[in-house]
């Protein structure tokens, strides 16, 4: 039915220099062009690049936005973070499925439409959001969903759709020193070149800048270790994977401050002696790709990038790599695996990225916001940076505020600002809980709202999700646990199996079918997953559960079945296949509910 266009596939291969390191990029290109990567194409790519078929197959199976079957001309992903849910994404999904006559997660019979959920797309301030062929649509109501379906059913290309449907707003609510700064492309670079890389590194050190991706590692130390590490070539990576649900501040920076980010990367190159940088842009932000490429081109024309930057003996350039839907790819060693054309599986550590990163060479990997700040420190000086913040967390932080608030969006505050201050500014009312730092962060309740946002108290990569008293916090936890179970890379046992056990347990608890003993047991397993997992994903995956168990235990207890034991299988449910086969659904084809059965036994 679908004749594959091998001419186009060859073109894509050529565009990437038939370089096996670009396997992920090539497959993303083919997915966009052909709507899927069937077996024959995987075979072809494996031979053309001389990569094992298992690797091609593995990569296609690993990333959410690559598919081993043809999904069709319209590929729709509805964002399914808890915030999108609160905005009514399920009605949007139902409308789309109905109007498109499609089944979720399966290509439509005519092979034209595919629709599924995906995790947070970084648009929680403008949800419900969805992606169609990598383009973002915001504020999607069920009515809009109907209109979308009409256009799809009429086969209308996306370019003819009203452009305001694709509007992504970027207007910060509260601007601090960073968002209010006037950045002049090249000025920071000029200043750093004049003072020399060693002196500039001292300036970054004096500023006490810590990584804004969440972990808060000191940037200057990372740069120094990498600079001093032996290696043929050094590399700089900007982490724009922004996968933590509820985070969208990098989206804003990529849109309005890409110049500063690229300048920050260039400065890192200057300090560590790298000539090459990568921007790893999450697949969900593909719509920003062309404007980022344009910014790079402009910077080259202005001699801020490329050969002999600002007339000096300094070369540096940046290549953009796209992600393809994998939260774990935000972990820096997994990100590097992806840059090398492989599945994003975190590497064992040590060795660390700073000494053994891309192609085993010394590599600096920093978050978008971190690079923007290094550029501003070069331009405005460390003193400017030190004007706000706390002793251990100098400077400010961009927060992505969403959920039950009157004014969602980007807020920039000095470190040390209390949660209460942010809640008041964004117009939150009757707040029951705030999830700080995303599902892998911390869930706090009102008696902790005076706690401060900073590395020494509540550390965050920027996600700030607010829940009012009408929300069922257990379904919030359920959403987060499903997220981790879907995103576990599968490499290590405790995360791969532990997150699945958690998923089963929370579903059972929410359904009111779990007993007190099970709650205790799953707490046990959660602690094992936390202690033994290979990377940060598994180590934090059980936090939403353990945090809320600590703070909201009564909500769990209210859901528990009063039975000591409820079997894991539902006898009646397991007969459903037989009922379908025998085409019966009358009362006699059903067994008593498990609860009744158990009661009888007791």
């Amino acid at each position: 039915m679908h004749a594959m266009n091998y001419q186009r596939i060859n073109q894509i291969l050529d565009d990437h220099g038939r370089n096996p390191l670009r396997l992920v990029q090539i497959l993303i290109g083919i997915q966009a062009e052909c709507g899927g990567i069937p077996a024959s194409v995987r075979d072809y790519i494996s031979k053309a690049l001389a990569v094992p078929l298992a690797q091609v197959h593995g990569v296609v199976a690993f990333y959410h936005f690559l598919s081993p079957e043809i999904q069709g001309q319209y590929r729709i992903y509805v964002a399914d973070n808890i915030i999108d849910r609160m905005h009514g994404n399920q009605e949007v999904m139902a409308t789309l499925l109905q109007e498109l006559q499609a089944e979720r997660g399966k290509p439509r019979a005519d092979g034209q439409v595919f629709i599924d959920y995906t995790s947070c797309t970084g648009l929680c301030d403008q949800g419900p959001a969805l992606l169609i062929n990598s383009r973002a649509l915001t504020h999607v109501t069920p009515d809009r969903a109907k209109e979308i379906a009409e256009r799809i059913n009429a086969g209308e290309p996306l370019n003819n759709w009203p452009s305001h449907w694709f509007q992504v707003e970027e207007s910060p609510r509260v601007a601090g020193p960073v968002l209010a700064s006037q950045f002049e492309p090249g000025r920071g670079l000029q200043a750093a070149l004049e003072m020399g890389p060693a002196q500039y590194l001292k300036e970054v050190e004096r500023a006490g800048l810590r990584g804004r991706g969440g972990a808060g590692f000191r940037t200057a130390i990372k740069w120094r270790v990498s600079r001093d590490a032996p290696g043929k070539t050094h590399y700089v990576i900007c982490n724009a994977d922004e996968g933590e649900p509820g985070t969208f501040k990098d989206r804003a920076l990529l849109t309005r401050d890409a110049d500063a980010m690229f300048e920050g990367m260039t400065l890192a190159g200057l300090v560590i002696g790298a000539e090459k940088g990568f921007l790893y842009l999450r697949g969900e932000y593909t719509y920003l790709y062309s404007q980022l490429v344009a910014t790079l081109a402009r910077r080259r024309a202005e001699h801020l990038l490329g050969k002999n930057i600002l007339g000096r003996e300094f070369n540096f350039d940046v290549e953009i790599h796209l992600g393809a839907g994998a939260y774990v790819a935000g972990e820096e060693s997994a990100l590097i695996e992806s840059l090398e054309g492989k599945c994003a599986v975190p590497r064992p550590r040590p060795p660390f990225t700073a000494t053994h990163g891309y192609l085993g060479q010394p590599t600096v990997c920093n978050n978008v916001e971190t690079f923007v700040k290094t550029a501003l420190i070069a331009q405005n000086g460390a003193d400017w940076f030190l004007e706000c913040g706390t002793r251990y967390s100098p400077g400010s932080k961009l927060l992505s505020v969403s959920g039950d608030v009157a004014r969602p969006g980007i807020y920039e505050y000095p470190f040390g600002t209390s949660v209460q201050t942010v809640l008041e500014a964004c117009g939150a009312r009757e707040t029951q809980a705030v999830q700080i730092g995303g599902p892998s962060g911390t869930c706090i309740t009102p008696n902790e709202f005076d706690r401060a946002i900073c590395y020494e108290d509540l550390s965050t990569g920027g996600s700030f999700m607010v829940f009012n008293r009408s929300r069922d916090m257990l379904s919030v936890v359920q959403n987060f646990i499903h997220f981790f179970a879907d995103e576990s890379c599968g490499f290590c046992t405790p995360c791969r199996v532990g997150t699945q056990l958690m998923r089963r347990a929370i579903d059972k608890i929410v359904a009111g079918k779990a007993g007190a003993r099970e709650l205790k047991e799953i707490e046990h397993a959660a602690k094992c997953t936390r202690a033994m997992s290979h990377c940060g994903l598994g180590q934090t995956a059980t936090k939403p559960f353990l945090d809320t168990l600590d703070r909201l235990r009564p909500q769990y207890e209210a859901r528990l079945s009063n039975l000591d034991f409820v079997p894991n299988f539902d006898l009646d449910q397991s007969l459903s296949k037989t009922r379908a086969l025998s085409q019966r659904d009358d009362p006699h084809a059903h067994l008593p509910q498990t609860g009744e059965a158990c009661d009888a036994r007791i």
Binding site: G58, P494, E521, H534
Partner: protein, 239 residues
């Protein structure tokens, strides 16, 4: 107490090590058993099963992947760790479909013996009952994915020792599966041989000879004596 330049403390005893050795390697050399499954002395490090998790200066880490460091304190045989290891083994059991009572590998299976070692008496968690594909296409060897624990031993052995690159792991999360590098995806369509290193290293009965059935009587199987009574050298040889 006399401390040599290269030594660390494992469960209260000083162990010497050679620079570059992992904690696992140093322990094995000294005759101390740390439970493990994906680790194999002839293969490159992997660190995926997490059974070998120890506490190094109070922090969790994999003994097979962490380099031994002079002066560090390592805890391994503690009730906290053994209990978590038991959960890891139970997780492996419920994730796959393991039928020890009639498995040909019973008694010679590392998954089984390690389960006994950590005191596992039941599966504890609800089984996943996942459908997994059996591959009987090869003349000499059977690949039964039901029993595979995704340790990648065969993957590494085939890549690094046999230079054939016959296996790979593909998929994400729960859907990760052992795949075969051939157009059909079948083992029979590769040049795999029962003489390959990759054919010897499977810790379970996932990759098993077809023509042997139950090769030795109960009582004389490799693990009919508990692992703690094994000399570690013997264990390492069979690893």
């Amino acid at each position: 107490m006399q401390e040599s330049e290269f030594s660390f403390e494992l469960d209260g005893t000083d162990l010497p090590f050679e620079p570059g050795q992992s904690i696992m390697e140093a322990a094995t050399q000294a005759g101390v058993y740390i439970p493990h499954l994906c680790h194999h002395p002839d293969l490159r490090r992997n660190g995926s099963c997490k059974l070998c998790t120890v506490k190094v200066n109070g922090r969790f880490g994999s003994a097979c992947a962490l380099p031994a460091q002079a002066g560090c304190t390592v805890e391994s045989n503690t009730s906290e760790l053994q209990e978590m290891r038991r959960q890891i083994v139970q997780m492996l059991f419920v994730e796959g479909n393991h039928y020890c009572p009639f498995c040909e590998k019973s008694g010679n299976c590392q998954l089984q013996v390690v389960a006994y070692h950590v005191g596992m008496v039941d599966m504890h968690f609800p089984p996943f009952n996942t459908a997994r594909q059996l591959d009987a296409s090869h003349r000499e060897m059977l690949l039964d994915r039901d029993r595979c624990i995704q340790c990648a031993r065969c993957v590494r052995a085939s890549q690094d020792l046999d230079k054939k690159n016959i296996f790979g792991l593909a998929g994400r999360g729960m859907n990760i599966r052992l795949v075969v590098n051939s157009d059909s995806g079948l083992l029979g369509d590769t040049d795999f041989s029962s003489a390959d290193h990759a054919a010897q290293v499977c810790p379970t009965g996932a990759l098993i000879r077809k023509d042997q059935a139950y090769p030795c009587p109960i009582g004389s199987r490799l693990y009919d004596t508990p692992i703690s009574q094994h000399t570690i050298r013997q264990d390492a040889r069979h690893d």
